[in-house]
Amino acid sequence: MPAVQETVERVKRIDVDQYRYGFETLIDSEKAPKGLSEDIVKFISGKKNEPAWMLQWRLEAYRRWLTMTEPTWARVEYPKIDFQDIYYYAAPKPKKTVSSLDEIDPEILKTYEKLGIPLREVAMLEGVEPKPGEEDPARRKIAVDAVFDSVSVATTFKAELKKAGVIFMPISEAIREHPELVQKYLGSVVPTSDNFYATLNSAVFSDGSFVYVPPGVRCPMELSTYFRINERNTGQFERTLIIADKGSYVSYLEGCTAPQRDENQLHAAVVELVALDDAEIKYSTVQNWYPGNSEGKGGIYNFVTKRGDCRGNHSKISWTQVETGSAITWKYPSCILRGDNSSGEFYSIAISNGFQQVDSGTKMIHLGKNTSSRIISKGIAAGKSQNTYRGLVTAHRKATGARNFTACDSLLIGDKCGAHTVPYIEAKNSSATFEHEATTSKISEDVLFYCVQRGLSQEEAVGLVVNGFVKDVLQQLPMEFAVEAQKLISISLEGSVG
């Protein structure tokens, strides 16, 4: 069955208001008291058995945060967040230390099964379903790190990765086991003082993933982290740090869901990528946090700082994101092109429906010589949503020969939504070449009528047109994700016409 049709089948099976991942898991959990203070920061650090330097780092961030104010420049509106009304730490109650999957609460394992994220390595080895109309894909393994509320519950394929020398573990473990690496790189791309939410994250982050790929190693499998918020009123503040040492390569995927809740939940993550000489990092996200209901109630506030540093010469960092969830998205995965001849890429599909607000884009900061960057952004607004692309491309005085190509396309479905493009371009030397293209279009009645005249239903027609619109970006995703993303796109646009 062609993917488009399969999408429509799925869409038909769910109600307009039903978010597929909106279930809650009942497990025993352990929470810190509500609110934020130095004591809470100490509590979190203590829970993780962190060394003193880590606690110190957190406390400095916390003190800094107290002096900061929330940014207001983004084109999003929401009631003031009461930061004392949030739980900053929630963890499934541990049954001592977890050394194998068998010791994890079966309810959590069931949750990941429901989400289609198999944590059992056996299941992973079964491979993926072949894409319709295609041969069996090469059976690929994906190592998964699952983060449930504030802690990482399972990391698969650890042994096999270890053989290759790749370190893939919860960051809380890395702080204890590889302090030299963490101390060297943590906060080196996104400093603790970077911005309100990143600083908050630095103070209270509870877990996340840590990856280190040693020199010359091509990571033997895709790495993946799956984030799930479960607890009520809980913020999720994960921290991801990926280091690709000289001449290495790693591809990392990230997915996220949350239960359906009336109140908003805060998610403020920080992701730092470091690529040394000749290294390459490919970072893909399919973000599907709960977007709120059809009246705009509930949903996740997704205030995320993601930044990659092409620290070495000839290094490369590529961000690919498919954003369909969250009530509010505030996210600008960026590249600092520090090394000479380094390159950065940003491929984005941002879809908003209902009352969702998206303010997303990227920053390409050209510092080294002959650096290049490429931005392909596809924004799709439906319902009563607002969708903004905000991007910065800048070339430093010494960044001679810098090149950027930007294409920002927006597609409007219906007449109650908005699409906005806010590009900032700065060239401080005359040898920089920046190109910017932008289009805004609507799915016209004529196109829809043409499709239905050929026998497609309205939903199939919208699915087809949108998938055509985002094709350039979908092609950048690893195949398993591309199929899933394609389905997600059609589901998020459900009920957007007629």
Partner: protein, 250 residues
Amino acid sequence: MALLEVKDLKVRVEEREILHGLTLTVNEGEVHAIMGPNGSGKSTLSHVIAGKPGYEVTDGQILFKGEDLLEMDPEERAAKGVFLAFQYPVEIPGVATMNFLRTALNAQRKARGESEYSTPDFLKKVREVSKSLNIPQDMLKRGVNVGFSGGEKKRNEVLQMALFEPSLCILDEMDSGLDIDALRIAADGVNALRSPKRAMVVITHYQRLLNYIVPDFVHVMSKGRVVKSGDKQLALELEESGYTQFEDAA
């Protein structure tokens, strides 16, 4: 039973009546030409038969194979065998023509309770038909109508007509924007699809197209009505005398 029966059809667009009681009967195997000046309601008729939104039928009915066509969604009409070749086929970027053809064909077959085509069977069928229409394979890999010339767009319409095998083909101003060579290729494609089981309604301003697609009947429309019907001779007379003589008749 007639294939298509349009009875005393009245249609409004935004409070303005465009068709004032139009009647037309088309039987299987027949080719009807509908001619008339701009604004006479020719395209409105084709859109209403195909089910384009934005038209309000205030009176009359349209029966297709004895069924009430106006009760059906446009995609249902398509599955039942109504095909409209557009005057201005739309572009759909990023959607490969081949993918579009297969998705549409299988949607129609599914709606009729038929099995979907397998990929090899489908490819074989497309290759056969596109070859006869002089459509290169690489055109099928491009986005639907994206960067197609006027002639290629129209040939793509004929290709779909051949693939979907409809029982009623409505060709809306197929000759617009085509040079003589392109027109001949498209018309040859249409003629190859003439069959005792299939009817065609050819909408055009000019007699020229009817030299290539020779109709059994010619109807002249003016101000929202059919004001004269005859055989192919009528088209030739019109070429001589023009449409003005009918202005008063309407």
